[in-house]
């Protein structure tokens, strides 16, 4: 496999990911409501089995990636800003509020937009504004 094919590969993997999330209805506000009301097993089954399969399969892999990386590291070094851990529960709770309101976490935002729910463009712009606001406020936030 050559390096030049990698971009196409990521595009294809993303497409598969989008189809799976769509067909499992993870992208639906209705399913998210059902989950936060504990009225169906569907979403818990999906998240739980995804974690279980990922936990088992990632341990079967060699420690180092078998193929050279295309784009270097995953996250910039500046990402590792962790004090007492407030960022995880506080940031997580803020994210959760938004997840229940929009019925979409970041993946479904892209998926719904691609699928023709065009008002999600406004949600995506807002999400970008939120990320931007964090980037410019982070020195003043507890981490």
């Amino acid at each position: 496999m050559t390096h030049r094919l990698f971009p196409v590969l990521y595009l294809l993997l993303g497409t598969l990911f989008g189809i799976i999330l769509t067909k499992a209805e993870v992208i639906s506000w209705f399913r998210i409501q059902e989950m936060f009301r504990f009225q169906a097993f569907h979403m818990y089954g999906i998240i739980g089995s995804a974690i279980a399969v990922a936990a088992v399969t990632r341990r079967l892999l060699p420690r180092r990636p078998a193929l050279p990386t295309l784009c270097g590291e995953n996250t910039p070094a500046a990402d590792e800003r962790t004090g007492r851990g407030a960022r995880f529960w506080l940031g997580g709770a803020i994210f959760g509020l938004g997840w229940a309101l929009t019925g979409a976490c970041p993946g479904p935002l892209f998926i719904l937009l691609g699928g023709g729910v065009t008002v999600m463009f406004a949600a995506l712009l807002s999400a970008l504004a939120g990320t931007w606001a964090y980037g410019n406020l982070r020195s003043r936030l507890p981490h």
Binding site: A24, F36, R37
Partner: protein, 186 residues
Amino acid sequence: MLPAALTDTWPWYIAGPLIGLFVPLLQLLGGKQLGISGNLRHLCAALLPGRGDFLRYDWKSTGGWNLLFALGTALGGLLGIQVLGTHHIAISPETRAALGALGLQDLSGLVPREIFSWPALLTPRGFVSVVVGGFLVGFGAAYAGGCTSGHAISGLSNFQLRSLFAVLGFFAGGLLATHLLLPLLF
């Protein structure tokens, strides 16, 4: 005609394991970690980096692969919705009743049209759901350093304690919004 197995709702025991396989696949392919919300950051870094070091980095080399992945998910949404026909969500009768009690009349489609449409953006519940909700998703994911894919699936499958805190936070926020905010808003 496409087979019903493709066009019907995919059950959790098919979809969940398939989603889980993306973690080892991305790891094997290039040492990448599944995490969609990173793309919000990469897009900000590309469009309007502003001050501070959080949005000032080489977004192309760091997040190029992930932006392509996100573009792919949009394509996947197009195929999944328009070709494979995901139009009707068969939620539980209890949820239908609860949403009806909130005042939603139309429970058809992928998302409720009474909230998620351009005209509804001008209503309080439409604005809060789309614009305020979107902002909180972007802010919270950046603050927590990950979203459902990054913390719940990638992080928990790697037994990261920080991801457990983040996921507990996701649910605390989600329960608060669902059971306290929505009745006030709708």
